[in-house]
Structures are given as structure tokens and as C-alpha cells.
């Protein structure tokens, strides 16, 4: 595998959105360029894929051997993700661990969220083998009672074709696994189907700002040396798309938050080495398969000159989007039906007159003017019954946008 295919970069900002428009654009671009994919004989819709899944699984096979026991980025992200399990009162006995930082999730779980069975899933055989060895090692050394109490199971499967029965899982955890999926709305929708009602979907994926410096350096270098650009950094989801993805997949109570990590490396080569060990190398179908040494060196030097810190190290940004969604259930809070209000806005104005807040708290008059909402509701009902409108006097006064009262006469 040449260095070319592993140095990621992209110039087209429009490629930073994941979704159907990208796939359609890619299809047109692929046909126009007359490119043939690495896997050769894929027909039909396969050319619409942005990512080459077979290549990705081979890259992850290799990363399984490169990966260290603990990786700063993967550890931090996984820890943050699993922390969210502790925020939930519910227990989740059966968990699905979608690929990405598989064994990091397995290792750092520590029985959080009441997880008893963890099913680890990945397309890469070697990654799964690694997960299996981790499970076996825990059994032999018996390190922590909590960890060995976890029942570990592994399967090899593709995230886009989720092999689970409907309503069989309690929680789906994906730590940095979904940003290489072609059909992300489809994958998330299948996750929702596989979850039981009131099941949790937790995912962390890389956001659009990730490796921003590398993207810029690669683009500039390529423009200088080759006069054209090809996608080198994979298109990544934007934060604004993450919320839409969750609602489109049918999740209730969606939550999205973003974290940015800046990691410093001695040079661009160490960054690439790190990406390779995480399995995060380029697998975009449209990538250029050749990169000259000139361009590679130019990239490194541009990176250093544009973004180099005073001590000679270079920063790399990793923006992680944490998404959480619940599969719909009747026990979740629903908005009230229209027309079921018991208190009107006018009652609120009576309860909180404009000068109530300007008075000091120990003023006896102010306490008498504030009434509870239930009292107001009963008052309004009485008023309707008796037909007597007590607020006739106050109807002459109207409140200006500035907050001061103006009397109409």
C-alpha cells in the first residue's frame, strides 16, 4: 500500500457533509472520471458509495496489530462516551459494541450502566480477534471481578447491514466507528429497530473540523506540486447534521455535543503513523492512488510552517461529536396536547405584575401579589362561571415591548 493512499486530504468543502447528496455527487464524479474501484467487480449502487468498505476492513486488520494497549485519543473519547451511561438510571443488560475503538470500550466499561453482555461487532477479522484475546486474557488473569463478570461475545458483521432481531438490544455503543459508514441514516435507523423500546444509542464520531490542519496542508501542497486535488481526508459529518441524523433515524430525545481535542506531534509523519495505528487511513473510493515523494514532503513542510508551534511541534485537531438518542417508548415525556392548558397568559400577568420584581424581597406587599398557578387556575374557572370579568380595569393598560406599562384611555 503506497504512502499516497494513506495520507488523507480533501479540498472540496462540499464533501464535508455525509448523506445522500454526497453519494449522488460522488456517483457523477466517479462516472465522469472513469475511475474503477479497487474491488473491481461491484455493480449497480456500489459506485455510489463514498467509502470502500473492503479496503477499510483490510486497513483495520493491519491497525489491529499496530494499535497500542492505550491510545490517548481513543481512551479519552471512549471514557467520555461511557461516562454518559452513568447519567442514566436505567440498567442495560445487553449491549452492542459497534466497531471503532472496540477493545477500548471493552476494557474501560467496568460494568457501567449495568451491562452484562457485550456483543462486539466489526467487519475486520483481526480486530475481532484482538477483542477475543482481550476477553480471554481477563479470564485467565482474573484481574478485576467486574470485568470478568462481563459476558463477551463477538461477531463479524457490517454496520450497514446490522444482523440483529428487532427489539433485542438495550444499548448500542459506537465509539468512533460510524464515520466510515456509507449509509449513515440507514445504519442508525437499523440500530433503532434493533433496540428495545426505551433503549439507548450512544455514538461518538469524528466531526468536520477533524484534521483541519492536515487537510489545508495537503491541499496547498497538492495544488503547488500537482496542480489539482483529490480527496485525501474523508468527508465527515458536521455538527448541525448530527441532530438531523438522529431525528431522521427515529430517535427520541436526541442529544448532541461536541468536544475538540488538540494533539501535538513532532512532525506530520508521526501524525500519519498514529492515524494508521488507529485504522483511520483514507478509504474514500475516489482517492488518488499515487502520491509522489515531493508532495508528501511538501505537505509535511507546509504543515510545519503554517501551523508549527514555537517548540517545533505541530497540532492536530480532533473534533468529536457525541450523539445520544433513545428509541421511542410511551414512558418518555411527550409534549402536551394542544388546547390542554389550564392557565392563560393574562393570569400570569396578574400573578407577576410589572412592578413586583422591582420591590425588595422582604416587602410584605410583594408576597401577596404572587399567587400560585393552581390558585390562578381555580380563579379563572370561577370567573368564567360567574361571568364577571375582574380584569376589566387592567385591560386598559397594555405592556410595551420595553417592559413599561402604558395606560390606554
Amino acid at each position: 500500500m503506497t504512502l499516497a493512499s494513506e495520507l488523507g486530504r480533501s479540498s472540496r468543502c462540499c464533501l464535508s457533509r455525509v448523506g445522500v447528496p454526497v453519494a449522488a455527487a460522488q456517483r457523477l464524479a466517479t462516472r465522469a472520471a472513469g475511475e474503477f474501484s479497487a474491488s473491481g467487480d461491484e455493480v449497480g449502487d456500489k459506485n455510489a458509495d463514498v467509502f470502500d468498505r473492503e479496503l477499510k476492513s483490510k486497513q483495520r486488520d493491519r491497525a489491529a496489530w499496530f494499535m497500542h494497549e492505550s491510545d490517548p485519543i481513543l481512551d479519552t473519547v471512549t471514557e467520555n462516551l461511557l461516562d454518559r451511561l452513568e447519567d442514566c438510571k436505567r440498567m442495560f443488560p445487553t449491549a452492542l459494541n459497534l466497531g471503532g475503538a472496540l477493545d477500548h470500550v471493552q476494557r474501560m466499561l467496568h460494568g457501567r450502566g449495568g451491562i452484562e453482555r457485550l456483543i462486539s461487532m466489526d467487519t475486520s477479522v483481526d480486530m475481532i480477534g484482538r477483542s477475543k484475546r482481550l476477553a480471554a486474557m481477563d479470564g485467565v488473569t482474573g484481574e478485576e471481578a467486574k470485568r470478568s463478570a462481563l459476558e463477551n461475545m463477538q461477531i463479524i458483521a457490517d454496520e450497514e447491514y446490522l444482523p440483529f432481531q428487532a427489539g433485542s438490544l438495550d444499548v448500542v455503543i459506537s465509539s468512533l466507528g460510524l464515520h466510515w459508514v456509507n449509509d449513515l441514516p440507514g445504519a442508525m435507523s437499523q440500530c433503532r429497530t434493533a433496540l428495545k423500546p426505551d433503549g439507548l444509542f450512544l455514538a461518538a464520531m469524528f466531526g468536520g473540523e477533524t484534521l483541519r490542519e492536515l487537510r489545508i496542508a495537503c491541499t496547498v501542497a497538492q495544488l503547488e506540486r500537482e496542480g489539482g486535488v483529490s480527496p485525501r481526508i474523508s468527508p465527515l459529518a458536521q455538527v448541525r447534521d448530527a441532530g438531523n441524523l438522529l431525528t431522521r433515524a427515529g430517535f427520541a430525545l436526541p442529544t448532541v455535543d461536541v468536544d475538540e481535542y488538540t494533539v501535538r506531534y513532532p512532525s506530520a509523519m508521526e501524525l500519519i503513523e498514529h492515524l494508521r495505528s488507529m485504522g483511520e487511513v483514507n478509504a474514500v473510493r475516489q482517492r488518488s492512488l499515487v502520491m509522489s515523494r515531493d508532495t508528501a514532503l511538501a505537505t509535511a513542510s507546509i504543515y510545519q510552517s503554517m501551523f508549527g508551534e514555537s517548540d517545533g511541534t505541530i497540532p492536530a485537531t480532533f473534533q468529536v461529536i457525541y450523539m445520544a438518542g433513545w428509541s421511542p417508548d410511551i414512558s418518555q415525556k411527550q409534549p402536551k396536547r394542544r388546547g390542554s392548558a389550564t392557565v392563560s397568559f393574562q393570569d400570569l400577568q396578574t400573578a407577576f405584575p410589572p412592578d413586583a420584581f422591582s420591590k425588595t424581597s422582604d416587602d410584605p406587599k410583594s408576597t401577596s401579589t404572587t399567587k400560585s398557578i393552581t390558585e390562578l387556575a381555580s380563579e379563572s374557572k370561577e370567573r368564567e362561571r360567574t361571568g364577571h370579568n375582574e380584569s376589566e380595569e387592567t385591560s386598559r393598560t397594555t405592556r410595551l415591548p420595553s417592559g413599561s406599562w402604558f395606560k390606554l384611555d
Binding site: I155, I156, D158, Y161, P163, S168
Partner: protein, 80 residues
């Protein structure tokens, strides 16, 4: 294989997974065939291999199973 001095035996397939797993294409539950070490989806006629105790449920690895041929019907005038 050996890594870090620990030998990992090829475990048998964990049958408790069967209550969760389904065919990736049709989401139907499986029938576990121990003899051929496959997970069979009878409604679609696809079988997925189990390699070293790990089920491989990628659609491209599925094998179409051929139906057994029915007994050939005798010719109308066979006995004559």
C-alpha cells in the same frame, strides 16, 4: 495462536447469541447448523459461515443454499 504467552483456543459458537442475531438482509432469526457450522436463514435460503467460533454475518459471505431436488416424477407410462 499465541500472544503474550496466552493461548486462545478456538471456542465453539456461543449459542446464546442466537436470541439476538438475525439475517443482515431480512432480519429473520437463524437456525444453527452444528454439522456445517453455519447460521442458516431458511426463508431467504442463505447460510452464513461460523469461522473459529465467530459468526461472520457480512452479506458477501452468505452462501445460497440449494433446495434438495424433489423425487423425480415417474413418466405417465413408466409401468407399461
Amino acid at each position: 495462536m499465541v500472544r503474550g504467552g496466552i493461548l486462545v483456543k478456538h471456542a465453539a459458537f456461543n449459542t446464546s447469541l442466537l436470541q439476538y442475531l438475525a439475517c443482515p438482509l431480512s432480519k429473520d432469526p437463524f437456525r444453527y447448523c452444528e454439522k456445517s457450522q453455519e447460521l442458516v436463514n431458511d426463508s431467504l435460503g442463505v447460510a452464513y459461515p461460523i469461522i473459529e467460533g465467530i459468526a461472520c454475518l457480512v452479506p458477501s459471505r452468505g452462501r445460497l443454499i440449494e433446495k434438495l431436488p424433489e423425487d423425480p416424477k415417474p413418466y405417465p407410462d413408466a409401468g407399461k
